[in-house]
Protein backbone atom coordinates (compact mmCIF):
# COMPACT_ATOMS: atom_id res chain seq x y z
CA UNK A 1 0.00 0.00 0.00
CA UNK A 2 1.42 3.38 -1.02
CA UNK A 3 1.23 6.53 1.08
CA UNK A 4 -2.03 8.46 1.24
CA UNK A 5 -2.12 11.13 -1.47
CA UNK A 6 -3.80 14.49 -1.84
CA UNK A 7 -5.73 13.14 -4.83
CA UNK A 8 -7.22 10.46 -2.57
CA UNK A 9 -8.26 13.05 0.00
CA UNK A 10 -10.02 14.86 -2.82
CA UNK A 11 -11.76 11.62 -3.78
CA UNK A 12 -12.96 11.18 -0.19
CA UNK A 13 -14.25 14.74 -0.17
CA UNK A 14 -16.12 14.25 -3.45
CA UNK A 15 -17.59 10.81 -2.65
CA UNK A 16 -18.61 11.81 0.88
CA UNK A 17 -20.25 14.96 -0.48
CA UNK A 18 -22.19 12.96 -3.08
CA UNK A 19 -23.56 10.71 -0.35
CA UNK A 20 -23.93 13.49 2.24
CA UNK A 21 -21.68 11.73 4.76
CA UNK A 22 -21.17 13.73 7.96
CA UNK A 23 -17.48 13.49 8.86
CA UNK A 24 -14.42 15.41 9.96
CA UNK A 25 -10.72 14.84 9.49
CA UNK A 26 -9.22 14.26 12.92
CA UNK A 27 -5.90 13.14 14.41
CA UNK A 28 -2.61 14.00 12.84
CA UNK A 29 -4.11 13.93 9.34
CA UNK A 30 -6.48 16.67 10.48
CA UNK A 31 -3.60 18.64 11.98
CA UNK A 32 -1.66 18.32 8.71
CA UNK A 33 -4.63 19.77 6.84
CA UNK A 34 -4.52 22.70 9.27
CA UNK A 35 -0.84 23.20 8.41
CA UNK A 36 0.98 21.14 11.05
CA UNK A 37 4.29 19.96 9.59
CA UNK A 38 4.69 16.36 10.68
CA UNK A 39 4.41 12.84 9.31
CA UNK A 40 1.68 10.23 9.59
CA UNK A 41 0.62 7.08 7.83
CA UNK A 42 -3.15 7.01 7.73
CA UNK A 43 -6.11 9.29 7.32
CA UNK A 44 -8.37 9.41 10.37
CA UNK A 45 -12.00 10.36 9.95
CA UNK A 46 -14.42 11.17 12.77
CA UNK A 47 -17.79 10.04 11.45
CA UNK A 48 -21.19 10.93 12.89
CA UNK A 49 -22.71 7.85 14.49
CA UNK A 50 -26.17 7.17 13.05
CA UNK A 51 -27.66 4.45 10.88
CA UNK A 52 -28.44 6.94 8.12
CA UNK A 53 -24.90 8.31 8.10
CA UNK A 54 -23.48 4.80 8.31
CA UNK A 55 -25.46 3.71 5.26
CA UNK A 56 -24.24 6.76 3.34
CA UNK A 57 -20.69 6.06 4.47
CA UNK A 58 -20.83 2.45 3.24
CA UNK A 59 -22.00 3.61 -0.19
CA UNK A 60 -19.25 6.24 -0.37
CA UNK A 61 -16.57 3.76 0.71
CA UNK A 62 -17.68 1.20 -1.86
CA UNK A 63 -17.64 3.90 -4.52
CA UNK A 64 -14.07 4.73 -3.50
CA UNK A 65 -13.07 1.08 -4.02
CA UNK A 66 -13.17 -0.38 -0.51
CA UNK A 67 -14.28 -3.98 -0.40
CA UNK A 68 -16.78 -4.47 2.41
CA UNK A 69 -18.52 -7.73 3.20
CA UNK A 70 -22.12 -7.60 4.33
CA UNK A 71 -20.97 -8.11 7.91
CA UNK A 72 -18.41 -5.29 7.68
CA UNK A 73 -20.96 -2.97 6.13
CA UNK A 74 -23.31 -3.81 9.00
CA UNK A 75 -20.53 -2.93 11.50
CA UNK A 76 -20.23 0.49 9.93
CA UNK A 77 -23.96 1.12 9.77
CA UNK A 78 -24.29 0.12 13.42
CA UNK A 79 -21.43 2.48 14.21
CA UNK A 80 -18.75 0.52 16.02
CA UNK A 81 -16.53 2.95 17.87
CA UNK A 82 -13.49 2.25 15.72
CA UNK A 83 -13.05 0.65 12.28
CA UNK A 84 -9.72 0.17 10.57
CA UNK A 85 -9.83 -0.28 6.80
CA UNK A 86 -6.90 -1.64 4.86
CA UNK A 87 -9.02 -3.27 2.19
CA UNK A 88 -9.22 -0.45 -0.30
CA UNK A 89 -7.14 1.97 -2.35
CA UNK A 90 -5.66 3.54 0.82
CA UNK A 91 -5.70 2.95 4.57
CA UNK A 92 -8.46 4.65 6.50
CA UNK A 93 -9.35 4.76 10.19
CA UNK A 94 -12.99 5.49 10.96
CA UNK A 95 -13.54 6.81 14.46
CA UNK A 96 -17.13 7.05 15.63
CA UNK A 97 -16.40 7.96 19.25
CA UNK A 98 -12.97 9.58 19.60
CA UNK A 99 -11.54 9.87 23.08
CA UNK A 100 -11.93 13.36 24.52
CA UNK A 101 -14.85 14.53 22.34
CA UNK A 102 -18.34 14.07 23.68
CA UNK A 103 -20.45 14.36 20.54
CA UNK A 104 -19.98 14.79 16.80
CA UNK A 105 -22.29 17.80 16.78
CA UNK A 106 -20.04 19.59 19.30
CA UNK A 107 -16.98 19.00 17.12
CA UNK A 108 -18.93 20.04 14.03
CA UNK A 109 -19.83 23.39 15.61
CA UNK A 110 -16.13 24.06 16.17
CA UNK A 111 -14.81 22.63 12.91
CA UNK A 112 -12.93 24.50 10.21
CA UNK A 113 -12.94 24.09 6.44
CA UNK A 114 -9.61 23.79 4.65
CA UNK A 115 -9.93 23.75 0.87
CA UNK A 116 -13.37 22.20 1.29
CA UNK A 117 -12.12 19.54 3.70
CA UNK A 118 -14.02 19.52 7.00
CA UNK A 119 -11.44 19.37 9.79
CA UNK A 120 -11.75 19.19 13.57
CA UNK A 121 -10.67 22.32 15.40
CA UNK A 122 -7.08 22.07 16.63
CA UNK A 123 -8.34 22.06 20.22
CA UNK A 124 -10.43 18.96 19.53
CA UNK A 125 -7.49 17.25 17.85
CA UNK A 126 -5.36 18.00 20.90
CA UNK A 127 -8.14 16.98 23.31
CA UNK A 128 -8.52 13.60 21.63
CA UNK A 129 -4.77 12.99 21.74
CA UNK A 130 -4.60 13.97 25.41
CA UNK A 131 -7.51 11.66 26.25
CA UNK A 132 -6.12 8.72 24.30
CA UNK A 133 -3.00 8.94 26.49
CA UNK A 134 -0.82 6.91 24.13
CA UNK A 135 2.97 7.03 24.17
CA UNK A 136 3.17 8.24 20.58
CA UNK A 137 0.62 10.99 21.16
CA UNK A 138 2.27 12.10 24.38
CA UNK A 139 5.50 12.62 22.47
CA UNK A 140 3.91 14.76 19.79
CA UNK A 141 1.75 16.92 22.08
CA UNK A 142 4.27 19.66 22.99
CA UNK A 143 4.91 20.45 19.33
CA UNK A 144 1.21 20.20 18.50
CA UNK A 145 0.39 22.64 21.31
CA UNK A 146 2.96 25.07 19.96
CA UNK A 147 1.42 24.70 16.54
CA UNK A 148 -1.94 25.52 18.07
CA UNK A 149 -0.56 28.86 19.25
CA UNK A 150 0.80 29.54 15.79
CA UNK A 151 -2.40 28.43 14.06
CA UNK A 152 -4.64 30.59 16.27
CA UNK A 153 -2.53 33.63 15.42
CA UNK A 154 -2.48 32.98 11.71
CA UNK A 155 -5.53 30.78 11.01
CA UNK A 156 -3.88 28.69 8.33
CA UNK A 157 -5.70 26.63 5.82
Amino acid sequence: MAAFEYRQAEEIRAAFARHAVRYLFIGKSGAILLGFPDTTQDADLFVAKSCENGESLVKALQELGFFLSDEQAADIVRGKDFVQLKNGPFDLDLVFAPDGIERFDDAWRRHVEVHGFPVCHIDDIIASKVASNREKDRESLPRLRSFREYWLRHRLG
Partner: protein, 85 residues
Protein backbone atom coordinates in the same frame (compact mmCIF):
# COMPACT_ATOMS: atom_id res chain seq x y z
CA UNK B 1 -13.05 28.75 7.23
CA UNK B 2 -16.07 28.17 9.38
CA UNK B 3 -16.58 27.17 12.97
CA UNK B 4 -17.41 28.87 16.19
CA UNK B 5 -14.30 29.89 18.07
CA UNK B 6 -16.37 30.77 21.14
CA UNK B 7 -16.77 27.03 21.69
CA UNK B 8 -13.03 26.38 21.96
CA UNK B 9 -11.96 24.52 25.06
CA UNK B 10 -9.64 26.47 27.31
CA UNK B 11 -5.99 26.36 26.41
CA UNK B 12 -3.45 29.00 27.37
CA UNK B 13 -2.50 31.43 24.60
CA UNK B 14 0.63 32.52 26.38
CA UNK B 15 2.94 29.65 25.51
CA UNK B 16 6.03 30.70 23.63
CA UNK B 17 6.85 28.82 20.44
CA UNK B 18 10.41 27.48 20.26
CA UNK B 19 12.31 29.17 17.43
CA UNK B 20 13.04 25.98 15.49
CA UNK B 21 9.40 24.91 15.59
CA UNK B 22 8.27 28.38 14.60
CA UNK B 23 10.56 28.22 11.57
CA UNK B 24 9.04 24.85 10.62
CA UNK B 25 5.48 26.15 11.00
CA UNK B 26 6.25 29.18 8.86
CA UNK B 27 7.93 27.08 6.19
CA UNK B 28 4.94 24.72 6.11
CA UNK B 29 2.54 27.65 5.84
CA UNK B 30 4.27 28.75 2.65
CA UNK B 31 3.73 25.36 1.00
CA UNK B 32 0.60 24.54 -0.99
CA UNK B 33 -1.65 21.94 0.64
CA UNK B 34 -0.86 19.33 -2.00
CA UNK B 35 2.85 19.67 -1.26
CA UNK B 36 2.22 19.47 2.48
CA UNK B 37 0.47 16.16 1.83
CA UNK B 38 3.46 14.79 -0.09
CA UNK B 39 5.78 15.70 2.75
CA UNK B 40 3.50 14.44 5.51
CA UNK B 41 1.96 11.13 4.49
CA UNK B 42 4.45 8.29 4.51
CA UNK B 43 4.08 4.54 4.47
CA UNK B 44 6.13 2.09 6.47
CA UNK B 45 5.13 -1.40 7.49
CA UNK B 46 3.72 -1.63 11.01
CA UNK B 47 3.84 -5.20 12.30
CA UNK B 48 0.53 -6.76 13.33
CA UNK B 49 -1.37 -3.52 12.70
CA UNK B 50 -0.89 -3.83 8.94
CA UNK B 51 -1.47 -7.56 8.81
CA UNK B 52 -5.26 -7.60 8.56
CA UNK B 53 -7.41 -5.91 5.93
CA UNK B 54 -10.18 -5.01 8.37
CA UNK B 55 -10.69 -4.62 12.10
CA UNK B 56 -13.61 -3.22 14.06
CA UNK B 57 -14.03 -2.57 17.77
CA UNK B 58 -17.23 -1.96 19.68
CA UNK B 59 -15.57 0.57 21.97
CA UNK B 60 -12.42 2.68 21.97
CA UNK B 61 -11.47 0.99 25.24
CA UNK B 62 -11.61 -2.38 23.48
CA UNK B 63 -9.38 -0.98 20.70
CA UNK B 64 -6.87 0.47 23.17
CA UNK B 65 -6.69 -2.85 25.02
CA UNK B 66 -6.19 -4.73 21.77
CA UNK B 67 -3.33 -2.41 20.85
CA UNK B 68 -1.65 -2.94 24.21
CA UNK B 69 -2.01 -6.70 24.08
CA UNK B 70 -1.07 -7.24 20.45
CA UNK B 71 1.20 -4.50 19.14
CA UNK B 72 4.94 -4.19 19.83
CA UNK B 73 5.62 -1.58 22.51
CA UNK B 74 7.94 0.39 20.24
CA UNK B 75 5.04 1.33 17.95
CA UNK B 76 3.88 3.62 20.75
CA UNK B 77 0.20 2.61 20.81
CA UNK B 78 0.33 1.67 24.49
CA UNK B 79 -1.10 4.03 27.06
CA UNK B 80 1.15 6.03 29.33
CA UNK B 81 1.20 4.49 32.79
CA UNK B 82 1.59 6.69 35.84
CA UNK B 83 3.82 4.98 38.42
CA UNK B 84 2.02 4.25 41.68
CA UNK B 85 3.33 4.12 45.21
Amino acid sequence: MSGDSSQEPGFSDSAAIPADWLAEFEAAARRPLEQRFRYSFIKTYKPVLDDAPYRAFDTMEEYRQWCEENLPDWLGYGRVRVPTG
